[in-house]
């Protein structure tokens, strides 16, 4: 009995103490932190990036996501690169490509004297192996959509010459070769590490958590002053921000929109807000109801709360979207005005009534990151004003991709930095709108198909931009791809280090000007 009584008292004490301690902890967490003083000094030996996440796969040929490319961009290089004005100029290629009269054969000379980080010289075999990998559908690489169907193959003419054979004229290949990293031929299939010719080499990989790069002293270009780059995965944006303000990291990516104003007030921090290919990509399954009817999609577009997404989710740091192509991508049409900033419930209801669907209910599948959940909730609330009932299906990225790839959704939305693969071209965005694209799920517009073929064939950037602008207008009118806004790429850094190159951010890259060769 005494034992029971003692046990009861212990439990009571425990409960009382738990209550007191938890209340105390909650009160303490409400306290803010003071600004960290900005340290002044020379270029540091090491620069640490705080990023949202780091891919488990250290292969830049496997995907075109920021989780891979922000980390590996300093390690690998492409045949061509972007100069200070974002024009494509030779890097690993020795001069401009020779294109045959029919446009179907590209001959590229490889620069001599360039070595990989293991000391092996860069040869045509490395380029052939790289193109062979991304041109093989079995590789399941993101890059396959950039090459398969257009490229017949690549062969080494001699140790320093590569010949790329095409199935059709493919002028946009120049952009692809400006973005595609060239990897050592023995490493194209490796996922645990990679081998390139860049100014930094991979030093240590702690899978999914941290990657360290050290300067490659035999680099063929100008050697950066910084000796080492470290990429730390810090998933929580508030923790990333605190680490930046305390100087534990020098560069912070994926700045939460609501933190931008706070960071701008910090005298030790510089915030870059750049129009970049940071796309909100939307998809419909258009081969079945309700989205097989263009009027239903248009009703959704008219009832979309673009202003709500811009002001509430992005704290004003985005541009209202009309079509899929954003301001940093060729083909953007700043004059296009089809839909309002705020929901036009009357127009939406009229279109739904015309389509014989006065009560529209559908499911919007979004990825589970905070940004997409917030966007989904704001959009659903806007659609509610027009009597449209949107249920959110929040999925982790893998199941989202699985459902998207198998067409198991009605409307889907995710965010993507498309500059790594497409640069400033609209290839990543628009190629999925071709009726021949396997994951298209029913959208067919012959005019769009024809224009897409022309856009990818031409080598004239201005002509391609004009064609893409037309496609943008057609897709916007068809309400087939309807991002509510075009967000900016927001990166913050400490002021004591060299300022990031804002120009190159327009194609999604992060780079210190002194660490770039072009």
């Amino acid at each position: 009995m005494t034992a029971i009584s003692r046990a009861t008292m212990d439990r009571r004490r425990f409960l009382t103490m738990t209550g007191v301690l938890t209340a105390g902890a909650l009160a303490l967490t409400a306290c803010g932190t003071d600004d960290a003083p900005a340290a002044k000094g020379a270029t540091p030996e090491k620069i640490t990036f705080g990023v949202l996440s780091i891919s488990d796969y250290m292969n830049p040929l496997a995907s075109t996501t920021k989780r891979v490319h922000w980390v590996l961009d300093p390690v690998v290089e492409s045949l061509y690169t972007y100069d200070a004005e974002l024009r494509s100029v030779p890097l690993l290629a020795d001069g401009e490509p020779e294109v045959s009269a029919d446009g179907l054969t590209w001959t590229i000379k490889i620069k001599k004297g360039v070595t990989h980080h293991n000391g092996d010289p860069l040869t045509a075999d490395d380029v052939v192996a790289t193109i062979g990998f991304v041109n093989d559908p079995k590789s399941t690489s993101d890059w396959t959509s950039f090459f398969v169907g257009y490229v017949k193959g690549a062969k080494a003419v001699d140790a320093q010459t590569v010949e790329i054979e095409l199935t059709t004229e493919f002028g946009v290949l120049r952009s692809h070769l400006t973005n595609l990293p060239i990897v050592h031929k023995d490493f194209v299939e490796r996922t645990d590490t990679t081998m390139g010719t860049g100014p930094f080499k991979l030093e240590k990989v702690t899978q999914g958590s941290e990657v360290s790069l050290t300067r490659y002293d035999a680099y063929h270009g100008a050697k950066p002053a910084v000796r080492s780059l470290v990429f730390q995965a810090i998933p929580d944006p508030a923790t990333r921000m605190v680490n930046l303000r305390e100087g534990k990291i020098q560069i912070m990516t994926d700045v939460a929109p609501e933190s931008v104003e706070l960071l701008k007030k910090d005298s030790a921090v510089q915030v870059h807000e750049v129009d970049a290919p940071s796309d909100l990509i939307t998809y419909f399954v258009t081969n079945k109801a309700p989205f097989d009817d263009v009027r239903v999609r248009q009703a959704l577009a008219h009832a979309m709360d673009r202003k709500g997404v811009r002001d509430i989710v992005f704290a004003g740091n985005a541009q209202i979207a009309q079509g899929p192509i954003g301001p940093s991508v060729e083909g953007h049409d700043a004059a296009l005005r089809l839909y309002g900033e705020v929901p036009d419930a009357a127009k939406a209801k009229a279109l739904l009534a015309e389509a014989g669907m006065p009560a529209l209910k559908f499911t919007l599948m979004v990825t589970s990151d905070t940004l997409m959940k917030n966007i989904g909730q704001v959009l659903a609330e806007g659609w509610k004003q027009a009597g449209i009932e949107c249920t959110l299906e929040v999925l982790d990225f893998s199941p989202w991709v699985k459902n998207w790839a198998t067409g198991k959704y009605e409307m889907a939305m995710t965010s993507f930095e498309s500059g790594f693969g497409g640069g400033d071209t609209a290839f990543t965005l628009l190629t999925t709108m071709s009726s021949k694209y396997p994951l298209n799920f029913g959208y067919k517009n012959e005019e769009v198909d024809g224009l897409l073929a022309q856009a990818w064939a031409t080598s004239d950037d201005a002509e391609r931009a004009g064609i893409c602008k037309k496609i943008n207008g057609l897709l916007a009118a068809d309400a087939i791809m309807m991002p509510p806004v075009h967000p900016k790429l927001v990166v913050a850094q400490r002021k004591e280090i060299e300022s990031l190159d804002a120009k190159i951010m327009k194609v999604s890259r992060l780079s210190l000007p002194s660490a770039r060769t072009y």
Partner: protein
């Protein structure tokens, strides 16, 4: 039926008005506050998903709990979240009881024999998996969205209810089994067997009412645990999915805004979880004590 009536009444535990300690009264008060918020709050608050036009506004007369990052009234969301958390917790505990009580009764009735061994080994295996590890495993496989099982669609809310319930089964079954093991030693059970009352009726009709009070007190205690567990799962993004609020997902959203000075966003739903958990525990503990005292008496 007639024969059982002439037998002396089994020693059924009677719930008399309990004498409660100060801590138990405190628990009752906290619990009433929580129930007031969860059951009456949603009736007075507006729509939990409507926008107020104010982003991260502090508590005021118009918005007593402030507003959130998507301009929604936090009183409405917290009240709705408390209701959802309470319903999920009660349903989870109910599901656990529905499975555990029959299993515990059978195990206890056949104590030491093979049905007891089989049931208890299964439950021990289940108990060996911590609730969160189990939840992570299941959600990892099925995802956070709806899951289709043949013609059946399990929503994220249903999955949380089932996960909590399955996690609680071993605990409820053990309490039921222990109470049943005591009951089967009683003379009235032997008498019922001797006069040929079917086993099903002995277990369901006579033993069950006598083992229920301690099991229900245990279940009451576990509602607090269930609210906490549901909140933790939703906080991690594994439980109730937006825009439906739950105390956990409100708190999960709030973490990003602490540094921006939006203290109310974290503190208020956090306090509600604290009040519910402590309230259920103190009151459940007090009721358990009262029941023990009654049994001793």
């Amino acid at each position: 039926m007639v024969m059982t009536r002439v037998l002396p009444r089994p020693r059924a535990a009677r719930l008399r008005p309990p004498r409660l300690s100060a801590l138990t009264w405190t628990g009752l008060l906290l619990l009433l506050l929580f129930l007031l918020l969860a059951l009456a709050g949603p009736m007075f608050a507006g729509d939990a998903t409507s926008r107020t036009g104010e982003t991260l506004a502090g508590p005021s007369a118009a918005h007593p709990f402030g507003t959130d990052h998507l301009q929604r009234d936090l009183f409405a969301r917290t009240a709705e979240g408390a209701r959802v958390s309470l319903l999920v917790a009660v349903a989870g505990v109910g599901f656990g009881l529905a499975v555990a009580v029959p299993a515990g009764l059978v195990a206890g009735y056949f104590g030491g024999r093979w049905p007891d061994d089989v049931i208890m080994r299964i439950l021990e295996a289940l108990q060996a998996l911590p609730l969160f590890v189990f939840a992570l495993f299941v959600i990892g496989i099925t995802g956070t969205g709806d899951t289709e099982l043949g013609f059946l669609t399990l929503t994220s809310t249903t999955k949380v209810v089932l996960l909590l319930g399955v996690g609680f089964i071993p605990y409820f079954a053990r309490v039921t089994r222990s109470a049943t093991l005591v009951e089967v030693q009683e003379d009235y059970v032997d008498s019922l067997r001797v006069i040929g009352v079917p086993r099903r009726r002995i277990i369901g009709g006579e033993i069950l009412p006598n083992v229920l009070p301690p099991v229900l007190v245990q279940a009451f205690l576990w509602i607090g645990v269930a609210i906490f567990a549901e909140s933790a799962l939703s906080f991690l993004g594994l439980g109730i999915q937006p825009p439906q609020p739950s105390l956990g997902n409100i708190l999960g959203d709030a973490t990003s805004y602490m540094l921006l000075g939006a203290w109310w966003y974290s503190i208020i739903p956090g306090l509600v979880i604290l009040v519910a958990t402590i309230g259920f525990n103190l009151l459940g503990d007090g009721l358990g004590d009262a029941l023990d005292a009654d049994a001793r008496h």
